[in-house]
Amino acid sequence: MAFNQELEAITQAFSGHGVDEKSLIAVLGKWDPLERETYRKKTSHFFIEDHERQFQRWNDHCVRLLKHEFVRFKNAVVLWSMHPWERDARLAKEALKKGSISYGVLIEIACTRSSEELLGARKAYHSLFDHSIEEDVASHIHGNDRKLLVALVSAYRYEGTKVKDDTAKSEAKTLSNAIKNAQNKPIVEDDEVIRILATRSKLHLQAVYKHYKEISGKNLEEDLNDLRFKETVQCLCTPQVYFSKVLDAALKNDVNKNIKKSLTRVIVTRADIDMKEIKAEYNNLYGVSLPQKIEETAKGNYKDFLLTLIARGG
């Protein structure tokens, strides 16, 4: 390989999600001191040129960022080998600590897990953190989101097949009225909306979703203008669409670290559940296969690990 190609390879090795360990070993490992100096001089986004003292030093911020990239594989492995209950409990705790930008993760956990899985997460939370998840959510979150989030993490939804269609129809109407009245009474303060979303079974909510479309011509989440409520409805009624969207947002090249983490989270938590359906939906929405997109954006061991997880079960 010519030196310029090698430079490109190393730049690539350090970009995207994770790092390309093999290239770093093969190329960086063989460069002599002069080649490495050229690398430093030509990589201004990593190295700061100290003209006065005639050397180039690492940008500390970049070193910290790189640490995240190297550790991405380790984090994925640890998360994957965790018991699902511990996994969800830890993800919830982290989301609470990070603040409102991460509350979507709480909604994801509360709404896309089965009733028993959510219960297990709550038990694990007791064990790990000496508090119940609802007490922490309730005491950390103060604003409009509190009622909805506490209700969602506390739910133990019926999971059988019985659905009363009349009730679903009337609750779709209730939602429609609440949305139309949102100017006077914001959706976040509407106890009936929260009641329906937080207590009804998922099958029932899918019936409500269907009836809502018939009444108003639009999808329920399109008409809800509060982000949390939107996410709630997506997770409960169209989870594979939700996950595809999260993955797509994560699989871009210059995203912030929280969004980047969602790639690991979604793949690890869904690999045994509905990855096949998510792959199909992803392809449907974005016209490209998920494995291919990961091949393009992720690197090294991290990439291989993700692809292996996705490929399980066909």
């Binding site: 038990k123 007791h126 609802e134 007490e135 506490v150 739910a155 133990y156 009641r195 937080a198």
Partner: protein
């Protein structure tokens, strides 16, 4: 301590003896009482299983048709598996409306988190709905928040207490109770999410700071359904045996006994702490619970209740 006197027996023999009691004209209630009144929960479930295997019939259905009135209701509830029983009690309470919500509060405050969970599962199986969805659909406002919060809680069960938090939250509760329009949401948050040990510490702190127990303070304000429910919640969490003694006292004193209350307390606590409740009753009323019961009710119902109270034949 329990009041139930258990007698060892084979479930097959019991099933056969019960079948004999049912056969023919009328029922041999005495045998039903003697057998079922001396079997613990495990034995009763074994009897159900044996009866089903031998006679291809659910003994519950048989009991429903052979017995009647308060006696039938008591025996039926006694035979149900505890989680199922609690689910039935909860469903009846929801249908009865606000005068019966205290039953739901009672159940979820006294049971451990795992037992509440078992009840919620049994509710799914029986009613094809979750308990919280039915409860939420029948209630509104702060009462709904409190009740749904209570049934969906999965409290941490450890012994750790945070004294600073106890002080902060005792203050919050005080503020919330003081005025009619106090911050009820915070009071609900505290009561429905904190662990029981933490809440007890908070109630104690309240008493230390304000010289009066929080339950007595709430009595002044207990006018609407929400405040009544708040009051019941705190009393059940604080000292459920005292609470049950009060239920029994009320059930037996009223003109026209509240058989539902009497049955509920006896059937649900006979294998748990009815003995302690009996002692509290005696201390409070200078009359033994058995004597008070014997005075107010009659017939097979009386015989059955007395048996569960530990009366030896």
């Amino acid at each position: 301590m329990a009041t139930l006197v258990t007698i060892k027996s084979s479930p097959v023999e019991d099933a056969e003896a019960l079948q004999k009691a049912f056969k023919g004209w009328g029922t041999d209630e005495k045998s039903v009482i003697t057998i079922l009144g001396h079997r613990n929960v495990y034995q009763r479930q074994q009897i159900r299983k044996s009866y089903q295997e031998i006679y291809q019939e659910d003994i519950l259905k048989r009991l429903e048709s052979e017995l009647s009135g308060d006696f039938e209701r008591a025996v039926y509830r006694w035979m149900l598996e505890p989680a199922d029983r609690d689910a039935v009690l909860a469903n009846v309470a929801i249908k009865d409306g606000s005068k019966s919500y205290h039953v739901i509060i009672e159940i979820v405050s006294v049971l451990s988190p795992e037992e509440v969970l078992a009840m919620r599962r049994a509710y799914h199986n029986r009613y094809k709905h979750s308990l919280e969805e039915d409860l939420a659909a029948h209630t509104t406002g702060h009462l709904r928040q409190l009740l749904v919060g209570l049934v969906t809680s999965f409290r941490y069960g450890g012994a750790e207490i945070n004294p600073k938090l106890a002080k902060t939250e005792a203050d919050i509760l005080h503020e919330s109770i003081k005025e009619k329009k106090g911050n009820h949401e915070e009071a609900i948050r505290i009561l429905t999410t904190r662990s029981k040990t933490q809440l007890l510490a908070t109630f104690n702190r309240y008493r230390d700071d304000h010289g009066i127990s929080i339950t007595k303070k709430l009595l002044d304000n207990a006018s609407d359904d929400f405040h009544k429910a708040l009051h019941t919640t705190i009393r059940c969490i604080n000292d459920h045996k005292k609470y049950y003694e009060k239920i029994l006292r009320g059930a037996l004193k009223r003109v026209g006994t509240d058989e539902d209350g009497l049955t509920r307390v006896v059937v649900t606590r006979a294998e748990k702490d009815l003995k302690d409740i009996k002692e509290l009753y005696y201390k409070r009323n200078s009359v033994h619970l058995e004597d008070a019961v014997a005075k107010e009710i009659s017939g097979d119902y009386k015989k059955f209740i007395l048996t569960l109270l530990g009366k030896q034949d």
